[in-house]
Structure formats: structure tokens, C-alpha cells
Symmetry: C2
Subunit: 163 residues, 2 copies
Amino acid sequence: MKFFEDIAAVDRVELGRHTFTADDIKAFARRYDPQSFHVDEEAAARSHFGALVASGWHTAAVWMRLLVEHHRREADAMRARGEPVAELGPSPGFRELKWLKPVYIGDTVAYATEVVETRASNSRPLWGLMTIRNSGVNQKDEPVISFISTAFVQRRGPPKDKP
Amino acid sequence: MKFFEDIAAVDRVELGRHTFTADDIKAFARRYDPQSFHVDEEAAARSHFGALVASGWHTAAVWMRLLVEHHRREADAMRARGEPVAELGPSPGFRELKWLKPVYIGDTVAYATEVVETRASNSRPLWGLMTIRNSGVNQKDEPVISFISTAFVQRRGPPKDKP
């Protein structure tokens, strides 16, 4: 993770792609969202979706994994250059999560994240807050998920006192 | 699922409880949120959390499972009484998801959901839309998660034409 001071409000990162297989969709759904159109191809064919679709929480959870993997690669590269690595802190939450299109078997979703705002934390002087807009787009370039999240990011040091 | 017409804006349902074990927390996190404080007790002890905590997406996904199980029990009871069962449709998304407190090993979260609004769907005459406020509270009665979601619910029939 970059330090708070090094994050600009225009930064956009392609996080990577994930192809949703039938096994993958069913494995998530059996544990966390066992609705028939997420676990049973025949029932899904009769549903309003017309075919098996991924749970929306699955689509979101894959974003999280790709974000963590991105930060891990970034941290490895920073360490390789001898640079200190910042810590990504807790997230207070997210807003405006939209599932825009169903994700079907074989769909490949490309995830990206864009920094929309950075601000100092009033309560935690060693941390800043970044607000990011997250999105996933399928292989037909159709947006399937979008949401805005906020997370704490470590600062290089406490803010300087004014002289 | 009850039909749209039978849902009142005051309905509150206790969905059930879930105790987050270390294995459970790590199994979700290894797949979807492999940050050190979700998968490694020793690293978590050194983190700002001070101990292993569940991924926020895990806390949300368990809500989803308990909601599905609740609707299944409700549907079984309705069928046992010989009543028709409505279909729960897709969800356009969520808003204002807040992770209010960390969920630690052994924490038991009680989930509830409350209907805050129902309205007819303009685009789909056979469906209504319900907006629900969802929450999870730990064994110390501290809220750990809250969010607002919207979902389509089947109507008993198309809205009547005015005479």
C-alpha cells in the first residue's frame, strides 16, 4: 500500500479479471447465498435470470480479493525498491452498491478502482481516509457492479504543526 | 416469501444468530479477503485490531445466508398451510453499509431486518419493491454492521386498472 500522502485523487488502478465458473458460483452461493438461481442450473433456467448467475455478494467479494492481491503486489514492488510500505487500515463501510447486470457462467469481470477523494482523519492523526469508486465490467463492456468505499490509509508521519 | 401486498412497512424479523469461529473467519478470508488480520492470528495480534477479526464482507455474507434461510422457513410454513408462495426477485443493490465494530473470534452476531418502505415497481407491473434496513448486533449488544437494501418481491397479481 502507498502512503496516504502519495495517493492522488485521480489514481485509477486496473485490479485484474475474474472468470466466474459454475463451480465457483455454486461454491460461494451454497455457503452464503443459497438461492436456487445461484446453486441450481435447472431452477435458474426457470427463474427471471434464465440461467445460473453469481450471487451479488460473490461479485463484490471477488473485488475484495483482487484489491488485496493488488496491494500485495504493490507492497512487494515497494519492498524490492527498498521503500517503506504503508498499512491499509479498516474500512468504515461502503455506499451506493449497485448490481447493474447479472453475472452468468463464463462471464469475465474486469475490476477497477479509482480514488475520488483523500482527506486527513480528524480522530486518528496517523491515518488518512481515501474514498474510492469501484467497478466491475463484463467481457461485453457492460458494467455489472459499482460501489463507493472508504478506507483508512497510513500516513508517512503525523501532520506537522503550523509554525 | 410473502407477497408484496402482505408486507407492511413495520415488519421486523429476527433472522437468527451466527458465531464466528476462527476456522470460519479464515476460510472466508483465504478465499475472498486474505488480509493478514483476517487469516493469521499472530499478525492480527500486531495489527490495529489486536486479534483476528472477520472480513466485513463475511459479516455481510452471513446476513445473506440467514435471510435466505428465513425465507425458506417462511415458504415451507406457507406451503404447509396450503398458501401460495411469492418469489423474492433480484436486488438492485445496497446503500450505507457500515461496519461499526470489528467481529472477533467467538463473537455471536444476531441479525435482524426491518421493512422501511414498500412501493410498486414502475417498470415491472408484476413486482413490487421493498426497502429493508438490516443490522447485526454482537453478544454485548453492540451494532457491528448495518445497511439498507432494496429487492423486488412478487405481487399477487398485476395492479388493478382504475374503473
